[in-house]
């Protein structure tokens, strides 16, 4: 039988702090909180700092007292504004385009599709049109596969809709897509090779926020002969560029381990 761990004490204590703050007028100092819960002052302080870090509590600058954070009020909605995501990622997206020589896009999930929230042109100064705001099919793009692989809800939402065929190589069977997503989770990146547009390929990796939550996908796309070797496999150097760039954004967003 599998070992079932017991309750995690610090999570229980954190929950107790949130309940305490939610109870009254909701502005308490660290000593009051420690006293109420029978915790050492240092322990309470550590828990409060962590809760503050994830936005669940806020500290008043003047008084130093704590209250519930705004993030708790919209826990269900996207916790990172897409315009903020673009703003935080823009430098790394530029650097990725410069290194790879390909166009860069950042996507988030919207109604089972990929919403393009940022687009950097391929750095060859040819005429290209900005497609921020465009919606891409999740199952047929590298960006989409990353978003599906790390978001069980998005995947569930896709169960009931038929997977549209764009090219001969588009994945249209849910079971096959499921297998592809397992592979994405194992590798930590996704590829699309002539699955959405003939002659085009794409690579993408997850952008993570605090605690490792995936908040978006970042990737490059371009001609299949530039992104892949003659046997149609993504070039390892490009994969590394994409993963490094996504990791750099994640680090800026506070995802420490990735």
């Amino acid at each position: 039988m599998a070992y079932v761990p017991g309750p995690v004490q610090s999570i229980e204590r954190a929950a107790a702090i949130l309940r305490l703050l939610a109870r009254g007028s909701g502005r308490l100092g660290v000593s009051e909180i420690a006293g109420s819960l029978g915790l050492a002052r240092g322990t309470a302080h550590g828990l409060l700092r962590t809760l503050q870090g994830v936005g669940f509590v806020e500290q008043d600058e003047e008084t130093g007292k704590y209250q519930l954070g705004a993030a708790l009020l919209h826990l269900g909605t996207s916790y990172l504004d897409v315009n903020e995501l673009r703003s935080r990622a823009i430098n790394w997206a530029d650097a990725l385009a410069a290194r790879s020589g390909e166009a860069v896009r950042i996507g988030t999930t919207l109604d089972g599709k990929v919403l393009v929230v940022h687009h950097v042109f391929r750095p060859d100064d040819t005429l290209q049109a900005l497609d921020v705001g465009a919606l891409l099919p999740a199952h047929a793009t590298a960006l989409g596969k990353v978003l599906l692989a790390y978001d069980a809800n998005a995947m569930a939402a896709l169960q009931d809709t038929p997977l549209e065929l764009f090219c001969r190589r588009t994945i249209t069977q849910p079971r096959e897509l499921g297998r592809a997503l397992v592979e994405v989770r194992e590798m930590g990146w996704a590829a699309e090779v002539e699955e959405f547009t003939v002659g085009e390929a794409g690579l993408a990796a997850p952008i993570r926020g605090q605690g490792g939550l995936v908040v978006g996908a970042m990737g490059i796309s371009g001609a299949v002969e530039r992104l892949c070797d003659p046997r149609g496999r993504p070039k390892p150097t490009l994969v590394t560029y994409v993963r490094d760039a996504a990791r750099a954004v994640s680090r800026d967003l506070g995802a420490s381990r990735w």
Binding site: N83, A98, P123
Partner: protein
């Protein structure tokens, strides 16, 4: 072979950032730290120069460690800085004399009026290319003398030094009280009201006019030249470039030929046009300034349209009103509505800069009705940046006799797609963002790298420039004219608000 990098420090109005660039001009690591804005009285804006120095002491080693690099892998350091902000410090203790007085600060407005009334006031613009305004450094030095007992004497004896932020940081990096190098570069010196634009030297008549003793002033040097080696923080690293942030952005956008222009969207916004090796005098409210000087080569001049408040209006919307949690959310909020609902915000927080130069103007929100929501206000905030750009572009076109064909943009606000589209719409020209939005930092890195031979020449730098995004105009011409008219009427309503004595 061990990879070598160029480091740039962008000492800006709200934060200091340190970036390592590789040979392709690509970002390798970034660290950043904000410093506190002090607003002790209406119209006053101050920074703690010591806090800024400590921030640099912290972020420069961090930038190296993020890249896994050591100081000996840094080929050179270039500095770009917020311009005109005035720091005075004690040469012996290394302590600043009071807080730095920031470029947005308007405390010298009555002093400016007094100086402008003098019979020889016209000499100022002829010699230094700048109008008499609170924006520039010299009147601040004079104000500090008038309000700090004994300070003038200590400055005359050379015990107290003057500098803008690059001087302060270079002096500290090269040893501070222990042999620190006291210099500035031509671009920063061109913003003091004290430098002769033709000779590129401190002008005795200007020094007398503003009553600033020569003993406290730094040596004026080219923008690219090895000024010295750091003895602290980055031991041994050559400090090889300094440029005012806007001039650094001109350099980073590779606007090396006459007629090339860029606009940087930050706290304020600044449109600079390269005019070549001859200074062009403006008749439409623009400044004549030094663009850059490469080592011993002749200086390159620029015409500048300065807008005091653009990103700062978004910050005020966030911090002063609390209507958004982060600056980029302004776009999210603005997109909740279709248009401005008839509402206009003119952010004349520090008076109006180009093309008006009205120190006595103050900000307004007009067109308020019960229909207006915070979404409309967010639109009006972004549109204020668009219309202010339109006004300086109109002035630039009139001064140069040429019509701008496209606008190269950079800076943090270029991440705002709604704003960039609006600017293209109101200018009726394409707006182009290059692949490095951090052109201020890139420009300082380019200049430093050029000085030490890390990059060979300007043409090589030009090849690094690529288009990252482009917005095309799509606004109906009739609507553009109607809206512009509303904006101009809103601007007129900001004039003559401050009266002498009611500071």
């Amino acid at each position: 072979m061990v990879e070598r990098y160029v480091m740039s420090v962008d000492q800006g109005t709200t934060s200091t950032r340190c970036i390592l660039f590789d040979h392709g001009g690509r970002l390798v690591s970034v660290t950043q730290r904000e410093h506190k804005q002090h607003f002790p009285k209406p119209g006053w804006v101050e920074h703690d120069a010591m806090e800024i120095w400590r921030n640099l002491e912290r972020i420069a080693p961090e930038a190296l460690s993020h890249a896994g690099a050591t100081p000996d892998q840094v080929a050179a350091l270039g500095i770009a800085n917020q311009r005109e902000t005035t720091v005075l410090w004690d040469r012996h203790s290394g302590r600043p004399v009071g807080r730095a007085v920031v470029w947005q600060d308007t405390r010298t407005d009555s002093l400016v009026d007094e100086l402008a009334a003098r019979p020889n006031a016209d000499m100022v613009r002829e010699r230094c290319g700048l109008p008499l305004a609170t924006y520039f450094s010299a009147t601040r030095v004079r104000w500090l003398f008038d309000h700090t007992p004994g300070l003038r004497e200590r400055a005359e004896s050379g015990d107290v030094l003057f500098g803008t932020m690059e001087s302060w940081l270079i002096w500290n990096l090269t040893g501070g009280p222990d042999g620190g190098v006291h210099i500035t570069d031509v671009t920063n010196a061109s913003r003091t009201l004290l430098m002769n634009l033709t000779t590129l030297a401190w002008d005795d008549d200007l020094l007398a006019f503003f009553d600033v003793p020569r003993a406290m002033l730094p040596d004026i040097r080219p923008s690219t030249e090895t000024y010295g080696r750091a003895s602290r923080v980055l031991p041994g690293v050559r400090i090889a470039a300094a440029l005012g942030d806007q001039q650094a952005a001109l350099f980073g956008q590779t606007c090396f030929a006459p007629g090339e222009a860029k606009c940087t969207y930050g706290t304020g916004s600044f449109l600079l046009l390269n005019t070549g090796t001859e200074p062009v005098r403006s008749t439409h409210g623009l400044l004549t300034t030094v663009g850059y000087q490469i080592d011993k080569e002749p200086a390159v001049y620029a015409l500048e349209g300065s807008i005091a408040i653009t990103g700062a209006l978004v910050q005020w919307f966030r911090d002063g009103l609390g209507l958004i949690a982060s600056a980029p959310e302004i776009e999210t909020l603005a997109r909740t509505v279709e248009d401005n609902g008839g509402c206009y915000i003119v952010p004349a927080f520090s008076g109006l800069f180009a093309p008006y130069w009205r120190s006595e103007a103050r900000g307004i929100i007009v067109g308020l009705t019960s229909y207006i929501t915070k979404g409309h206000l967010a639109r009006a905030v972004l549109e204020a940046t668009g219309w202010q750009t339109r006004e300086v572009v109109d002035a630039m076109n009139a001064d140069s006799g040429l019509a701008l064909k496209a606008l190269k943009v950079d800076g943090g606000m270029t991440a705002d797609n709604l704003l960039m589209q609006f600017i293209a719409d109101v200018l009726d020209v394409p707006v182009i963002r290059p692949m490095a939005a951090e052109t201020v930092s890139l420009g300082a890195a380019y200049a430093a790298g050029l000085a030490v031979g890390y990059w060979a020449d300007l043409e090589g730098l030009r090849r690094n420039w690529h288009r990252a995004a482009q917005w095309l105009p799509s606004m109906d011409p009739g609507r553009r004219e109607t809206e512009y008219d509303c904006w101009r009427r809103a601007v007129e309503r900001t004039f003559d608000w401050m009266k002498p004595g009611n500071t």
